[in-house]
Symmetry: C2
């Protein structure tokens, strides 16, 4: 168990899609902002970590269980908790509740610390992590085995200026948008995601083209983002048919 | 003079670009949310307007004067005021101030009311507009004469799933992103916008491709968004060379 922190949030128009539900990638970015504010409140802002340790936090994996997606103008309570860590990985949860207290989304995220200069992963310094009151564990969470796709559909996307964030690479939130977009519009209208596993493998630099590849088998889609001959991200999404359409 | 309303806002990570400054299109969407909250506070929410009048607000034009773009984590004060209206147009200002009280951005927006069903513009009902305490004026603000571009550069963009908002069309904020993206990455890094005039001509439907056309002449760029053989939006942007690069 770690130090909990929470905020309320009313879903704005520009964070919702054609179905009036949250755009998950943007919502995750908002959740990251909340964890950033928790860190700042205990003297571990990104700037502190950079100035005192020369390190930068990077998310490597997400796992989302989605029971219901919040809608436009709905107010949710977002609780975050840095639950545990081992030599290299820190695990943080986000729980999203509606006003009646129902759990809507459960997000598990994996963070690592990298050296700002050489981008190499470093062991988590004990004094850096201490204020979070997370449990030190031996166990490493296992992200799923992502199979390389054999016969995917593929769409190409030019990397846009606003895809790049202040770290000088494509913002993480864009990958999931490209993955969604590789599916058909009518499929997305008629289905909702119930379980998302997402792995970031490699940063994407400005300029050039990425390919978003997908294989849809019944209600499971498997995704890859390719750039310059390498896989940069992978995901597995479980879908449910919407009963309202 | 109309009824003023204000909110404070701390710029989140995901609303900033590679230069750590606000992404203007997303910031404008946030400002629209503020005007929506003012309207709701005086019994004129979008839902009220739809249920009581069968009408929907649509923005047709923006004019922005930009003195400095707010940065990541900066807290700004955003004041909005529905300043005046005539038979068809309502004019609303947004003023963005930094913590020292300096004006950073002055935004003038033009709104019209359309019938939800036939998408036709209707005269502004007096009782709908009354609570805003805006001045009724004869004068129509003149947006600039946009010249049709003769020899533009052009980039094509596939419309993405998340470009579509709950109105079933491309969200207004995407046009400005496509316009920016038509310029070169190095130009965008080395310049800042000081004056933006933007006109929405026609909604863009899901699916298909749009073309973002641009002519850059010294420090003025002129933009057009084309789809299906028609112009859907136009803009003129004045740029200044950044002295910090």
């Amino acid at each position: 168990m770690g130090l909990q922190y929470e905020e309320h949030f009313t879903i704005p128009f520009d964070m919702t899609d054609v179905k009036q539900e949250i755009i998950i990638s943007q919502f995750i970015s908002h959740c990251l902002g909340i964890s950033g504010r928790q860190s700042a409140s205990i003297g571990r802002s990104d700037l502190d970590v950079f100035e005192q340790y020369g390190l930068v936090w990077v998310v490597t994996d997400y796992e989302l269980l989605i029971f219901r997606l919040p809608s436009y103008n709905e107010t949710v309570r977002i609780v975050t908790e840095p639950i545990s860590y081992n030599k290299f990985f820190c695990y943080r949860k986000f729980y999203v509740y509606d006003e009646a207290g129902n759990l809507l989304i459960d997000i598990l995220s994996y963070f690592v610390l990298i050296h700002f200069q050489d981008r190499k992963v470093v062991p988590v310094p004990d004094d850096l992590i201490a204020p979070y009151q997370s449990e030190k564990v031996k166990k490493i969470q296992r992200s799923p085995r992502y199979q390389v796709l054999e016969d995917p559909e593929s769409k190409d996307y030019r990397i846009r200026y606003f895809d790049i964030d202040m770290n000088g690479h494509v913002n993480n939130s864009k990958y999931l948008e490209w993955m969604y977009d590789a599916l058909e519009y009518d499929f997305l209208l008629a289905h909702r995601p119930s379980h998302i596993q997402l792995k970031y493998v490699k940063e994407v630099s400005p300029g050039g083209i990425i390919s978003s590849k997908v294989e849809l088998d019944n209600l499971t889609s498997q995704h890859e983002i390719w750039s310059d001959g390498h896989i940069h991200a992978q995901a597995i999404i479980q879908w449910e048919k919407r009963d309202d359409r």
